[in-house]
Amino acid sequence: MTRRAIYVSIFIGAAILVFGMATQGHPIPAIGIALLGLAWMVAHKRRIRWVASPAFAIFVVISAASIWGGIASWMALTCVMFSLAAWDLALFVQRLEMTSEPTDRKIMERTHFTQLGFVIGLSLLGVFAITLIRINLTFGGAVILALLGVWGISSLVYRLRRHEDDIDL
């Protein structure tokens, strides 16, 4: 199930961006994105593990860049969400494969999909809320906001890493 979900996620993520770019009159980037999606799928099929992270990063960057290409914001956001899902599931599959006898495999898959669904649902809710709120910022205000964002993310990452460093070997 998880394997199929990975292919579906990559396909939807790439297809939506290809569609957006093609309809906006950018056929060459659209072909490039399609090929990239195809390469990710092939790499996953051939179990080339390291491809998932760079592919995910590239899709996020392309999604951001495609907004200037004129595609709808929901398309870029969908691409980011499905790339995130594909990247996450690629690691999850790897973890599941680490055991030849995965007990509770179905329960684990179900739990994982629920969590992922929760993340995507919450993101959509957030995006929906953002579209409703309109604030006009000066450049200075935006910079302060950006610094606040960077600080927030940094402290979040720090907390996560500290949690991880609590190794008892």
Binding site: S53, R95, T111, G126, L145, I153, S154
Partner: protein, 431 residues
């Protein structure tokens, strides 16, 4: 790059791009990634409070025999969503059935048990821990813990069944056994004649010799058979055991040592062992099954080491008494000859069983003329070295390891060296 770092870099990129271009749509792209990070923190694993137990189906096995490892991990804390339990295996052991990894869910105060089967090479293998990796649902936060467990496995060396090893030490012990003692008395083999003494069995009277002398009776005397002291020296020097391409003769030497020890102990001899690897490891001499077990254990744990030559080899008489039999098992090096000859001079009866490194390596060489010539030269050099050893009165068995030791021992060790020499010279004469 770790997963958290990748996410952080992408979020920074989106935020800075969005703010830099004052584009709120771009900023919104960071939202799924931020939520994902927050979920990782929220679902991060709690403190791991686990214990583990390991049970091995057998702690002492023959090579190739399978051992079932049963593991039980108990959770004394809260529920754990996904934990990967990995049982790190000692080198030279491999899993043949099941898996030494397991991804499980552990409810609060619950436990999980599973087993897998392994087999491995000769040696003493120690299991001392289980590694546990607990992750949040997204694999962002990983907590690792080592759970102490106990367990040891001894894979014993194989033993070739040898019926008899013909040795003739200069001195034997007082107990009766199977080694000719160079003394007249009760036995089977004819030893000599002596004048009849009261109490001699009439069956032992040599009537022909008595008739020739006319005025006295003569009795046959037989050679006494007793047990002997035997010291086995196993050469564990890496220099002589390891050949090109990391090929090793040491396993063959171990088989030979165990087989010889086993055969000699079964004939009630007193056998001791010296493994000469990184340092000298002694198994003091002893008799019987218990000694066989001790030697088996020592050989199971035998490793090669970096000792350079036999020069530092010192044999205390307490371990191997003077005039006893010494059996050296070594691929041999030309520098070892003086030391081995010195042992002979000191009064020991010396036998050398030498796994042949030239044949061993030559059988793995490419079929090239130059290599064949090199192998031939090496073989000649070795033959000269062995002849020199024989010249010192040392019995040498050049064992081509492609032949099972059982077979080599039957041909070269089951009869006294004098008999074998006579056989060889007879064959030579006919040829």
């Amino acid at each position: 790059m770790s997963r958290i770092a990748l996410l952080a870099v992408l979020i920074y990129f989106i935020i800075l791009t969005g703010v830099g271009t004052l584009n709120g749509t771009v900023l919104s792209l960071a939202l799924p990634l931020v939520v994902y990070l927050l979920a990782g923190l929220w679902r991060g694993p709690e403190k791991l409070d686990l214990s583990a137990e390991r049970i091995l189906s057998s702690e002492r096995v023959k090579p190739g025999e399978k051992v079932t490892v049963s593991l039980t991990v108990t959770n004394h804390g809260g529920a754990l969503g996904e934990i990967l339990i990995h049982d790190p295996l000692p080198v030279f052991l491999e899993v043949v059935e099941g898996s030494n990894d397991r991804l499980v869910r552990l409810p609060a105060h619950g436990s999980i048990s599973w087993s897998y089967t392994l087999q491995g090479r000769r040696g003493f293998h120690l299991f001392h821990k289980l590694e546990v990796n607990a992750e949040d649902g997204f694999g962002l936060v990983v907590k690792r813990k080592s759970l102490p467990t106990s367990g040891q496995l001894v894979v014993l060396p194989p033993v070739a069944r040898i019926r008899r090893i013909a040795i003739r030490p200069r001195q034997t012990r007082v107990y009766s056994g199977l080694i000719p003692a160079h003394q007249g008395g009760a036995g089977i083999e004819f030893f000599g004649l002596r004048e009849y003494q009261a109490g001699d069995s009439p069956h032992h009277i040599n009537w022909r010799a008595s008739a020739r002398q006319g005025n006295a009776l003569f009795s046959n005397e037989y050679e006494q058979e007793r047990v002997a002291d035997v010291g086995i020296v196993l050469d564990g020097r890496s220099e002589v055991n390891y050949l090109k391409g990391n090929l090793s003769l040491f396993e063959d030497s171990v088989i030979a040592a165990m087989s010889v020890a086993s055969a000699l102990l079964s004939e009630s001899n007193r056998v001791g062992l010296l493994i000469y690897g990184d340092r000298a490891r002694w198994t003091s001499p002893g008799y019987g099954k218990r000694q066989r077990e001790r030697i088996l254990q020592s050989l199971a744990m035998a490793r090669t080491g970096e000792s350079q030559n036999f020069r530092s080899l010192f044999i205390p008489h307490r371990m191997f008494p003077a005039n006893s039999q010494i059996i050296i098992i070594s691929p041999l090096h030309a520098d070892d000859l003086p030391v081995i000859a010195q042992l002979k001079v000191s009064g020991y009866q010396v036998m050398v069983i030498s796994p042949d490194p030239v044949s061993f390596e030559a059988s793995r060489l490419e079929d090239r003329k130059s290599l064949k010539l090199s192998a031939r030269i090496a073989r000649l050099e070795r033959e000269i070295m062995l002849r020199r050893l024989r010249g010192f009165g040392i019995q040498v068995v050049n064992w081509n390891t492609s032949t099972p030791f059982e077979q080599a021992a039957r041909t070269s060790l089951s009869r006294p060296v004098t008999f074998l020499r006579a056989m060889q010279s007879g064959r030579g004469g006919r040829g």
